[in-house]
């Protein structure tokens, strides 16, 4: 077996235009969500006088710092609906964008190591099926068939008692996803402007009318924030608060190996998640560091625990070397669900709070956020994820239920 070669890039991906003095819509943040929002604003709503402003370089934040896992096996109806919409879009996007970003539906296993894990997993499988999401409960011998390198011996510290499996889940090449969306958005007329930090918001009363940036003032009718870990900072600049806390989330990759790992394995209990990238690196993630931080790095002991768990589950990894570690900054909400919708500032919309799960949601976040910005109204899929749920109490509590700890 040999690793798949990466596809060639098109020569031309996007222009690097100077910012104009005004746009119909300004999106803050040229990560996956910002790019997808711009793409769907143009494609679904015909709004092309759009700028996507990025303080660093395109897709250099969390889009470049995640573990690329795509799945929709969420517990609650609202979550299953939006993540399953994303998964269906993922299934069509490589053809639609005419760009092979190596979307690989190799399945995701979520392991159970305790009786309570088993009960939670079976419940989630049933909930998934009721929502039209593909899901199976696997006994330990079936888990070993899906992933033969996984240690399902009963003599480990936390034996594998079974697992949920979503066959349609998988991974994609994250950078290529961003470039694919950027190229199409650019072709449709969207200005992607890198090295352009938003430093303030221009308001007329309670209504936003523009942004101040490191490259000058830009007037606009509507603003969409899609800045992940920095959403709280931007909200403060705009004069309101968000119920988000920014945390470092670390991941790492090994050196390259022959293909050994056929699926994605996640374990909430011992807390590691592992897949093998197309080139051959073992990609591993863990939970967030407990403290607030914006430093794009985290604590060593989190890596140590995640590696210990990985080696116990995959004895074959024991001699693999770590090649690279990195951290992203995720914005975590009290109910571990995103916030997509309007804010106390008129014409200023926010897409944030995706916590550790933003990458998989990229197309649906863009789809629904574009709808909200274009129409001023929530899309049925993002209506439950409004900011006012923290006042009404209609929370969508995916803590624990989301098949990963935050």
């Amino acid at each position: 077996m040999t690793a798949e070669p990466l596809p060639e890039h098109p020569d031309f991906l996007w222009r690097n235009p100077e910012p104009r003095t005004s746009y119909d819509v300004v999106i803050v943040g040229a990560g996956g969500h910002g790019l997808a929002t711009a793409y769907y604003l143009a494609k679904n709503h015909g709004i092309t006088k759009v700028a996507v402003l990025e303080k660093g370089w395109l897709a250099g934040g969390n889009m470049a710092r995640n573990t690329t896992i795509i799945r929709s096996n969420y517990l609650w109806d609202e979550s299953a609906a939006i993540y399953e919409h994303a998964l269906k879009l993922w299934e069509g996007l490589p053809a639609e964008l005419d760009y092979d970003f190596l979307f690989s539906q190799r399945g995701v296993l979520n392991l159970a190591h305790t009786l309570q894990d088993v009960r939670e997993g079976v419940r989630r499988v049933n909930a998934n099926r009721l929502n039209g999401v593909d899901a199976e409960w696997l006994e330990p011998d079936e888990v070993a068939e899906v992933c033969p390198i996984l240690n399902v011996s009963p003599r480990t510290r936390y034996p594998v008692l079974g697992g949920t499996f979503q066959p349609r889940a998988g991974i994609a090449k994250h950078d290529h996803v961003a470039w694919a969306l950027a190229r199409r958005a650019d072709e449709l007329g969207v200005d992607l402007i890198q090295g352009c930090e938003v430093t303030g918001f221009l308001k007329d009363g309670d209504r936003v009318v523009g942004v101040e940036t490191s490259r000058g003032r830009i007037l606009t009718g509507r603003v969409g924030l899609a800045a992940a870990g920095h959403s709280g900072v931007l909200a403060r600049l705009a004069g309101f608060r968000l119920p988000v806390q920014s945390h470092p989330l670390q991941a790492l990759v090994s050196e390259l190996h022959e293909p050994v790992h056929p699926t994605v394995v996640m374990s909430n209990h011992v807390h590691v998640y592992v897949s093998q990238a197309h080139k051959g690196e073992l990609v591993m993630g863990a939970g967030v560091d407990a403290y607030n931080g914006y430093g794009q790095r985290g604590s060593f002991h989190v890596i140590e625990r995640q590696m210990a768990a990985a080696v116990e589950l995959f004895p074959v990894f024991a001699r693999a070397h770590v090649l690279r570690t990195w951290g992203g900054i995720v914005d975590v909400t009290p109910d571990a669900s995103p916030i997509v919708g309007s804010t106390p500032v008129e014409n200023l919309y926010v897409n944030c709070g995706w916590g550790t799960g933003g990458f998989k949601a990229t197309p649906a976040a863009g789809w629904t956020f574009a709808h909200t910005i274009a129409t001023g109204e929530p899309h049925p899929l993002n209506a439950p994820f409004a900011l006012d749920r923290f006042t009404t109490g209609a929370l969508i509590d995916e803590h624990g239920a989301a098949a990963v700890a935050h």
């Binding site: 900072v233 119920p243 806390q245 914006y294 430093g295 604590s299 009290p334 006042t391």
Partner: protein
Amino acid sequence: MLLITCPWCGPRDETEYHYGGQAHVPYPQNPAELSDAEWAEYVFYRDNPKGPFAERWVHSTGCRRWFNVLRDTATYEVLASYRPDEPRPGGNR
């Protein structure tokens, strides 16, 4: 790895502690009079600054006491640690 100074035990590795979020969040003085929006503020909304942040830590594997730390969330520099009955160094709550 953060090196955090417990006011009672001295400097210890981050692994000896657990995090408790923002410090100096007072319980509402008149809970019965709070609106839903004010309750939401108290229960769900916390500051999330990029820069100095006063936060709570508990020395779980040491003296098991809570205390406050002033830490820069951009650089991770621990600027000060102090007892819960002491004010935030440098003011600003």
